[in-house]
């Protein structure tokens, strides 16, 4: 069986990689900030996955509109849907 390398040598390598990773992270964050700024937003916010910004259809105030839409005649509903899908 092979013997593990010298612990000090491995520790030095891990430390070096950690510094390289920090630098890559800094570059990535700077690139993201530049992309966000280029997109017109001056504020780079903390990132979150769990929000669903395009889940507008389930907003509370849309409930009566959805109710009316659901009860439209089929042909009219499809025509409206087709129009909105374009």
């Amino acid at each position: 069986m092979k013997q593990p390398r010298d612990a000090a040598e491995v520790a030095a390598l891990l430390e070096h990689w950690s510094l390289v990773d920090d630098e890559a992270g800094r570059r990535a964050a700077a690139r993201r900030a530049a992309a966000v700024s280029a997109g017109g937003s001056g504020l780079v916010r903390d990132y979150e996955f769990h929000k669903k910004p395009n889940d507008w259809i389930h907003l509370d105030w849309l409930r009566p509109i959805r109710f009316v839409y659901r009860n439209l005649p089929f042909g009219l509903r499809m025509a409206l849907k087709k129009r909105l899908a374009r």
Binding site: M1, K2, Q3, P4, R5, V10, L13, L14, H16, W17, S18, L19, V20, D21, D22, E23, A24, G25, R27, A28, A29, R31, R32, A35, V36, G39, D46, Y47, E48, F49, K52, N54, D55, I57, F74, G75, M78, A79, K81, K82, L84, A85, R86
Partner: protein, 481 residues
């Protein structure tokens, strides 16, 4: 033909601007119209006869940056029945590996006139089929841009990309890739099987706790099964194994590993708190191979030539990571690469083993934004250049971060369905989401997570990929080009 001509007239182009090229039988869809057959024209628009070109295609050409010389976009198919909605082929960003497998770009292409001349001229490019034409144009292009807008409206409901194996063979010869071409006419797609010119040492890094589980009715130590099957089934044997074992790993497991691996086996003790990234980094630091295979201890090789398939990609110095397709024990797909939606998602998870995917997505080799670290091959040079796996992600998304760092450094990440492994992960496992890790990942890569280049921003996000899209009544499965 009339529809195409009318759409061109509608955009303000008279007859002197377009040229009809007959390709094959006049009654077939082989006819192509080439818009802008004027030596002074700046752009050439290729459009199939019968298709209607949209104003967007021309608008984005007019607005294109000076170094952009090829543009392509999405396709819409209008259904005549009133109760049916249009369907779309939404395309990802330029993926050269995928273009070698099939013509996912389609028939409509907007190209600078100068590039057309460099790629053989209008007459030659209209005399051939769209796959051959696109390969010729894209291999000469400086910058190819995908626009997530509809470029053409087609009467054809068949969105399956075509593939021309002869065109791929010629393309490989022109760009100097040593490979054999295999054609699957049923799908259809081309497999580019690169030739492996040498047999470098591959270090297999396996973090483990020495756990046992029931596989095919028998309780076995998972890590022993992983090593044993790799030794028995893989046709590539220039391997060394670095097993990073937690302190509680049973002595009998260690003994069995030592017996199996012999002088190719190294067991490194790990007594710190769990950190997947640290364990892998330690393994790589102890290894000496030119290439590094990060492998979970609950995996098993399926295709005997999986390592050769993955390794052969590295003849191209722009390749940084190659990932295989992973299957659960019952054969269903565990991961066919990642997609950011924006939550990183395993593509086609839990779908049947023979799934072709939208537009044969699962059958083709392609670029991906990330692949799962349960099994990925990278070179030591690339691993060291980006600082290995980031220890800031002890549990989740270290593979996402690693793949994005590798791409930031200028390399490509490749997914191949022709290398197959089992991943005996629990089907019901839900990754524990740690908000601090989410924030860190987003801090580095938030914009890419929000707009995965190998996805399409027009596709609905934040919903399971296989659920119906309430806007169009079409599933993403059908929409993803």
């Amino acid at each position: 033909m009339v529809a195409t001509a009318n759409s061109l007239r509608g955009l303000g182009f008279g007859k002197r601007h377009w040229h009809l090229a007959l390709n094959g039988s006049p009654s077939s869809f082989g006819r192509r119209i080439v818009l802008g057959d004027d030596p002074a024209a700046e752009w050439v628009v290729f459009v199939a006869a019968g298709d209607r070109i949209t104003r967007d295609a021309l608008h984005f050409a007019a607005e294109a940056a000076p170094d952009v010389d090829v543009l392509y976009g999405d396709t819409r198919h209008d259904v005549k029945r009133d109760d049916r909605l249009p369907s779309y082929q939404r395309r990802p960003s330029f993926s050269p590996e995928r273009l070698r497998s099939h013509n996912y770009i389609g028939e409509t292409l907007v190209v600078r006139r100068q590039l057309v001349n460099e790629a053989g001229g209008l007459a030659a490019l209209t005399a051939t089929d769209a796959h051959d034409r696109n390969l010729r144009l894209c291999e000469s292009a400086k910058r190819i841009e995908r626009i997530a807008e509809v470029f053409n409206v087609t009467p054809s409901a068949n969105f399956l990309p075509a593939a021309n194996p002869e065109a791929v063979t010629q393309h490989l010869s022109r760009v100097g890739i040593a490979a054999d071409v295999e054609f699957d006419p049923q799908t259809p797609c081309v497999r580019v099987r690169r030739r492996l010119s040498r047999q470098p040492l591959v270090s297999v890094i396996i973090p483990t706790r020495g756990s046992s589980a029931e596989l095919r009715g028998q309780t076995v130590p998972l890590v022993v099964n992983t090593v044993q099957t790799l030794l028995e089934k893989s046709t590539y044997q220039n391997l060394e194994f670095i097993v990073v074992a937690d302190t509680p790993t049973p002595p009998e497991v260690r003994a069995e590993l030592a017996r199996l691996g012999g002088d190719r086996m190294m067991i490194v003790d790990y007594d710190q708190a769990f950190n997947f990234a640290v364990k892998n980094n330690i393994g790589v630091a102890h290894s000496s191979g030119e290439f590094v295979l990060l492998l979970n201890d609950d995996t098993e090789i399926i295709s005997p030539d999986a390592l050769e398939t993955m390794l052969a990609f590295f003849a191209d110095p722009t390749v940084g990571i190659v990932g295989p397709i992973l299957h659960f024990e019952d054969g269903t797909i565990q991961s066919a690469g990642h997609i950011f939606s924006p939550d990183p998602t395993d593509m086609y998870r839990l779908q049947p083993a023979d799934t072709r995917g939208a537009h044969n997505y699962v059958r083709v080799q392609r670029e991906a934004s990330s692949v799962i670290a349960a099994c990925l091959l990278t070179s030591r040079k690339v691993f060291e250049e980006v600082g290995g796996l980031s220890t800031q992600f002890p549990g989740n998304w270290n593979d996402i971060d690693f793949a994005l760092k590798v791409q930031q450094a200028g390399y490509r990440v490749i997914f191949t369905p022709h290398a197959k492994f089992f991943h005996f992960e629990s089907k019901t496992r839900v990754a524990l989401r740690i908000e601090a890790e989410v924030a860190k990942l987003g801090h580095r890569w938030g914009d890419i997570l929000d707009d995965d280049p190998y996805f399409n921003p027009r596709l609905q996000r934040y919903i399971n990929l296989w659920r119906s899209d309430f806007h169009t009544d079409r599933s993403y499965e059908e929409a993803m080009g």
